[in-house]
């Protein structure tokens, strides 16, 4: 399938350089990354509100911008629906006039019909004569979407559409937004710095950092296989650790970390075969290591790989879960400040195992839970 959206953009600002290239297809492409990484600027380039120095923007085969060919379609002619951060509804116009704003050039009858249709489909009936300051957060979002969708855009751009809302409302509106975007079947580009938002709404996630694309992948792949330690860090992964290769084979890779030998699964399909002593970065999800009960038989080597031992030096209670900061018994400098590994366990496990009293534990990390990050 060919990409519907093709973006290559370079722009040099006084204190920032944007240099990105990515493609987007059906559904929602999410631009994800920390604030100041160039996400909004990219949207402005797509909408024609900011002119890049170089690059090319193609939507469904229609060239909107091509620096080399001297093409720069005016924002008025791009047919791009833009939902601004904070919505940017016209405060002096009613809901109806806001939604009809982009339809001025249509014949009056068609304009009225289309406006009524959008109002109906978005459940805004009864609010037509209201002004934006009298709308709730959810209604504002729908009006902003309605205004953008009314012009039958080739695609919509959404700039942090949920950032203006409080947390509980945010969850609800995220679901609503997802339903609307699916229902209207318009390709969308959405900007966010909240990963759970990116993951729920995005079919494809493009990770931005410092004006560059660090990775572009379907959302599932992104979580399973972040392309680098910087992507893992942006995604908010914990336990990003550095070790050294001892031996690499197609299916297994053995590494040295903190005086221990760890065994990790390699990906046979695209095996990573670095020579001995190559430094490697890997991460371990805090929920993956398993504590080993002290009563009962000694740990079964088939069941538990990579057995380590250490003690809890601090813990964080976040309600449902407890995060244990573990330091290995092994002498030496701990990997992450004063501890080596974060382990997250459910609150009830904490209670059952009496972790409040018993601080020294053995735990195992399955080889499949050690994720290597080619850097």
């Amino acid at each position: 399938m060919s990409a519907r959206l093709e973006v290559v953009v370079q722009a040099r600002l006084a204190d920032f350089t944007l240099d990105v290239a990515w493609t987007g297809g059906e559904g929602v492409s999410v631009l994800f990354g920390p604030s100041g990484s160039g996400k909004t600027l990219t949207l402005q380039c797509l909408a024609g509100l900011f002119r890049p120095d170089a690059g090319r923007i193609v939507v469904d085969g229609r060239v909107l911008f091509d620096a080399a060919a001297g093409i720069d379609v005016a924002p008025q002619l791009r047919r791009v629906g833009y939902v601004f951060q904070g919505y940017a509804l016209f405060p002096h116009l009613s809901v109806r006039a806001n939604i009809a704003f982009g339809l001025r050039d249509r014949p009056p009858a068609e304009r009225a019909r289309r406006t009524a249709e959008v109002i109906e489909r978005l459940g805004l009936g009864g609010l037509e004569e209201r002004y934006p300051h009298k709308l709730s957060g959810g209604q504002k979002q729908r009006v902003a979407l309605g205004r953008a969708l009314a012009i039958e855009p080739a695609f919509v751009l959404l700039d942090e559409p949920l950032s203006a809302l409080d947390l509980p409302l945010r969850r609800a509106l995220r679901d609503e937004l997802q339903v609307i975007l699916k229902d209207w079947r318009v390709p969308a580009v959405l900007v966010t710095h909240d990963f759970s938002e990116a993951y729920q709404l995005g079919d494809r996630v493009i990770v931005y950092e410092a004006g560059r694309v660090r990775q572009a992948a379907p959302r599932g792949e992104l979580l399973r296989r972040p392309a680098s330690s910087s992507v893992a860090r942006i995604l908010g992964f914990r336990n990003i650790l550095c070790g050294e290769v001892l031996e690499a084979a197609a299916d297994r890779i053995r590494l040295a970390w903190r005086g221990q030998v760890l065994e990790a699964s390699n990906v046979p399909r695209r095996a990573y075969l670095p020579p001995r002593e190559t430094p490697v970065v890997f991460f371990v999800r805090p929920e993956d290591p398993r504590l080993i009960r002290k009563e009962g038989p000694p740990p079964d080597r088939d069941h538990h790989t990579n057995i380590l031992s250490g003690s809890v030096i601090r813990e964080v209670d976040s309600g449902v879960t407890r995060t244990l900061l573990m330091r290995l018994d092994q002498p030496g400098t701990p990997a992450q400040g004063d501890y080596d590994l974060e382990i997250e366990i459910p609150g009830f496990v904490y209670e059952v195992l009496r972790l409040d009293r018993d601080r020294r534990w053995q735990f195992s990390i399955h080889r499949g839970s050690i994720h290597l990050l080619p850097d």
Binding site: A47, P75, Q76, Y82, H92, R147
Partner: protein
Amino acid sequence: MSPESLNALALSIRVATVATLLNALLGIPLAYVLARKRFRWRWLVDLLVTLPLILPPTVTGYYLIVLLGRRGWLGAPLYLLTGWSVAFTWYAAVIASAVMAMPLLVRTARAAIESVDRDLERAAFTLGRSEWRTVLEVTLPQARNGILAGLVLAFARALGEFGATLMLAGNIPGWTTTVPLAIYTAVQTGEASEVLVLVGALTAVSCAVIFVAGRLGTSAT
């Protein structure tokens, strides 16, 4: 109220009204350009517009004579071509008041336009509006209160203008004598009752302007 005083009051209101209209016509576009455009000589335009606010009015008046007087840079060719000079006519009073009032409008309107959310203008662009239509349909309605406040200030300034008007238009009774000039003349010649009448009239007009502006301001929101 004596016929002369009545005449002065009518002239003052006429001069201030025309000067304010002139301000609206030139000052609002100027405020927009200063607020939204970046160009090479922007600082100079900004400086020239603001200068009358800082300079003593007689100095501004002197520059206006140099520019528009019968032997001025623009005035001389005009006089040569038409045999007419703007100096010492009521048009001169209008020009002097307009120049003195301009900074008040431009500065207030510019601040109001700068405070309009740029995303509103960007939204209008993506919805098919040209920059010109966006200004009319989005920017100006949003900046309306600030612009109205600026126009009221400009009107009040034009109504009270003395120094620059005296320099360029003179003090010709029934012709260029506005109320502030009439008050000065009346004080000089000791006509205490006329002074009171004129001072009262100007105060009343000013109060009315503030009242009307307040009404406009509240109905706009």
